[in-house]
């Protein structure tokens, strides 16, 4: 800071932590400031010189900043919503009310422009704390007022947002400054100009250069710089490319750099590159390096959010409501006590739970008195949320395949005072046999965990194609058995929510698309008003158009773990048989070969149905079979899946593994046979089966069973 600044009698700037802003004060101030704001702020001479010096030292960041303006966000905040990490820049001429406050103060204090970003940061902090302290007195109406613009975001993001606003302002400033220096700064220092020009051009290192580099120890700094430059070039390839170098060369260098800098394996980087546009990819990778905020959920069975917040504030916890979209969530900024061991925690007043875990339950919205199945419940966060939405009425069946993890479920359910739950330890795939006829089912499928890399960095290197395929296969089996456990005739329900903490398309859209083909289900809106739409087309795959009703959440754009949520409604209890025929016509074949389960599933299912008297609500029999949801987009699917088929055959090595997961050797044999047989043979076979089915369902089952043995 400046020489004259005496820290002992430093006057507090800004509205102060606990100050409440007068209503309408912002607009008042805006009137005063209007003129100053419109025209670009002139820097002091020293400030200008410093800016030049900065430009000389690192002319690059400017470019990357520019790049970030082009990047799109789906939210309405896209205008100024940008990653929070790059703070360093020149000055702010913010146009929103908060920055205006700061602006006034700065000018008064005569602070030099170069130091302004410190200032901005500081006042940002102030703002955060102000929100926190306000909390206790805050009621719902007030909540609505504050942050009316970006309510669907986490409050912690509001801070980031502000930062971004600042950044944008700074960027404008720097543009203007450049113009300035273009006109008047030339005589001062023309080497700067030349320098910038030179650095703007990013040169692709040649083969020998790379070899040289490999011999040297890795310089992360330069790699980071190179990633930025590379992304910059790729985003405007026509203009910025080097003559004679192709996009592939740039991309391969970029991938290599990303692998080294963020320490991912090649496979995962390629996967992510398919999902995100380049600029977003870097943000995503950056976001995976930082932890998500700690969030808790109030247990409304035992307390209210306001009481809980007060009790925690008294224990020295710094918290804030999670956002407009949740009435029960709180974000913990920092805490002087361990948040997982306070007496309130032990008394079951809240549950430690990631923000993203709220979403599937909110999408499911279980009603009082319903019977709900949570297929993979551990450690019980979502289960307890369901119980509190149902006010401890109805029945929840909490299932998990892992007996050890059920201990924590047991603890959490009892701690939170949930009494309407049955905890059991089945494999989810067996479920419709055990119990069926649920009003709602939540399937939080086991996944590769590519959305929670910040929690578990091991994912970066440990996953490969086989892992993704394996979990996708398991998920397909689970989603079918989840659908089969549903009761479509339930007056209030018949809904399935499918979610994963993975962001790969194979484990999400593809699985849902598969379920759409195999069962009488349709996608319905999730009821979540934020998040990005699911993919309907991905590379060579085309999914059902309704998949845009599913929602994706990313760490860099929503500040929560990467997540996928889809809500399905079952509209008929019959299991369509047409898909089985389709396998013969090579339409559904790729998926059929890849997951032999479903066809067996139908067989098993119908076999069990006859003897399953345990099912509380008996399903209408499969006699009235009809094929309904296949027809509309059949033509659309046909081609891409065929491509897939080829691909799958190439990847045949993974095949035995995925089947082995199911642990049924007989099935594998069956699949092998199926594969060998020609299309026409199969068609005949299917016809025969269908005939048999018409006459006697049991007979058909026996037949198929025999075949498989």
């Amino acid at each position: 800071m400046g020489r004259k600044l005496d820290p002992t009698n430093k006057v507090k700037r800004g509205p102060g932590r606990k100050a409440r802003k007068q209503k309408g004060a912002e607009t008042e101030v805006a009137k005063f400031l209007v003129d100053e704001e419109r025209e670009p702020k002139r820097l002091s001479s020293r400030g200008r010189r410093r800016a030049l010096k900065r430009a000389k030292v690192s002319p690059k960041p400017k470019e990357t900043v520019e790049k970030h303006t082009e990047k799109g966000f789906t939210d309405e905040n896209s205008k100024w919503l940008k990653p929070a990490k790059r703070k360093r820049s020149l000055d702010d001429t913010g146009d929103d009310s908060d920055t205006q406050w700061e602006e006034v103060e700065e000018e008064e204090s005569g602070q030099e422009a170069g130091d302004a970003f410190d200032e901005a940061e500081q006042s940002d902090d102030d703002d955060d704390k102000e929100m926190v302290d306000d909390y206790g007195a805050m009621d719902d109406s007030e909540e609505e007022e504050d942050g009316s613009d970006g309510e669907e975001l986490l409050p912690i993001e509001r801070a980031a947002k502000k930062q971004k606003k600042l950044e944008e302002a700074m960027e404008q400033e720097s543009d203007e400054e450049r113009e300035e220096s273009g006109s008047e700064g030339e005589d001062e220092d023309d080497t700067v100009q030349a320098n910038i020009d030179e650095m703007d051009r990013f040169k692709l290192p040649g083969a020998e250069e790379r070899e040289k580099e490999e011999a040297m120890p890795i310089d992360l700094q330069s790699i980071h710089q190179r990633i930025k430059d590379n992304v910059d070039v790729l985003s405007d390839f026509a203009d910025k490319r080097e003559e004679g170098k192709g996009r592939a060369e740039y991309l391969s260098l970029l991938k290599k750099d990303l692998c080294t800098y963020y320490s991912y394996n090649w496979f995962l980087i390629e996967k992510l590159l398919d999902i995100f546009p380049l600029s977003e990819l870097v943000d995503f990778l950056e976001a995976n390096e930082i932890q998500r905020p700690v969030t808790i959920r109030t247990n409304t069975l035992k307390t209210r959010r306001r009481d809980l917040a007060q009790a925690l504030i008294n224990r020295g916890v710094n918290l804030d409501p999670i956002g407009k979209w949740s009435k029960v969530g709180l974000v913990i900024f920092d805490s002087s006590v361990p948040i997982g061991a306070t007496p309130e925690y032990l008394a079951g007043h809240y549950m430690l739970q990631g923000a993203s875990s709220f979403l599937p339950v909110m999408a499911l919205s279980p009603q009082e008195g319903e019977s709900v199945l949570d297929m993979s419940c551990a450690p019980g966060g979502k289960t307890t949320y369901m119980a509190q939405l149902m006010r401890n009425t109805g029945i929840i069946v909490a299932n998990d395949a892992n007996a050890d993890r059920l201990k924590s479920v047991m603890g959490n359910l009892h701690r939170l005072g949930v009494t309407n739950t049955i905890i059991c330890n089945y494999d989810g795939r067996q479920f419709p046999k055990v119990m069926g006829g649920f009003d709602r089912v939540l399937l939080d499928a086991p996944c590769s965990g590519t959305g929670v890399i910040s929690k578990d960095p091991a994912v970066k290197t440990s996953k490969d194609e086989a892992d993704i395929q394996r979990s996708a296969h398991l998920q397909k089996e689970l989603i079918l058995s989840a659908i089969d456990s549903l009761n479509a005739d339930s007056p209030s329900g018949g809904y399935l929510v499918y979610c994963t903490c993975s962001i790969t398309v194979e484990e999400n859209e593809w699985v849902v698309d598969y379920a759409l083909k195999k069962r009488n289900v349709k996608l319905v809106p999730t009821g979540l008003d934020f998040g990005k739409e699911g993919f309907t087309r991905f590379k060579e795959r085309r999914f059902h158009p309704s998949l845009r009703l599913s929602r994706r959440f990313y760490p860099h754009s929503h500040n929560m773990d990467g997540f996928f949520v889809a809500k399905l409604k079952k509209f008929s209890n019959t299991i369509p048989v047409k898909p089985v025929n389709k396998t013969a016509e090579a339409d559904d074949e790729p998926i059929g070969t890849e997951t032999p389960a479903p066809s067996n599933e139908t067989a098993r299912k119908s076999a069990t149905k006859t003897k399953a008297k345990k099912q509380p609500i008996s399903k209408p029999d499969t006699e009235t079979k009809k094929e309904t949801n296949e027809s509309p987009a059949k033509g659309m699917w046909e081609k891409p899946t065929r491509v897939l088929k080829k691909k799958r055959k190439v990847e045949g090595t993974t095949q035995p593994k995925t089947v082995a997961v199911e642990g049924n050797a007989a099935k594998r044999e069956g699949v092998g046979e199926k594969k060998k047989g020609s299309k026409f043979e199969k068609k005949d076979e299917q016809k025969r089966k269908r005939l048999m089915k018409k006459n006697n369902r049991m007979g058909k089952n026996k037949f198929r069973k025999l075949q498989r043995v």
């Binding site: 007496p343 309130e344 019977s371 201990k407 009494t419 055990v434």
Partner: protein, 236 residues
Amino acid sequence: MLNIHYILDPAYRMCRHTIASCFRLASSVFGTHVCLVSAAVEQLKPLFCIILYIINMRPLTDDETKIMFEKLSKYIGENIKLLVDRPDGTYCFRLHKDRVFYISEKILKLATNISRDKLVSAGTCFGKFTKTQKFRLHITALDFLAPYAKFKVWVKPGAEQSFLYGNHILKSGLGRITENTEQYQGVVVYSMADVPLGFGVAAKSTQVCRHVDPMSIVVFHQADIGEYIRCEDTLT
């Protein structure tokens, strides 16, 4: 009805009192019939052990009910009947793997679908029967003890932590205590903010508590909500 399988397995050795308790349980169900078997096993004891295998959750036997209700009544007195006769549906106690669960009839019906070895819990776990046929209340029962508790103890905020770590309550940490608490009366422990923290047994009567020195124990610790973290594994 109940199915009891006697599995004679030389490799499986159970300690003696387990066998004894099995027999006590079995004889209370089947009466004299089991005594014959027990006599036979008595002869073969060095070689054979017996495992009682009971399909599904079963209702408590009369003995078990008596033992458990005696224990419960130490804390909530005659309020037990409020647990059994509830306006919002029939609730009952069921035994599963030595644990006693308190479940509504509706949930129980659904729970019968689940095979014995796959069922972990249903409703609320109240506690477990030890191998010596004593009933031990678990902290999970606190939700049902606290609202009906007859005798209560409040601990000061400073002593909260100590109690939650499994220590007895000293006079210095005692905030309030119900009048007329007898010695060795079961009490439910609350924080000063009326959050139930656990339960225990009064070490001294209210009268004596008044005059006792600050470092002496006034409530013996039995269970506290800290156990949700400390002994998560043993809750099930």
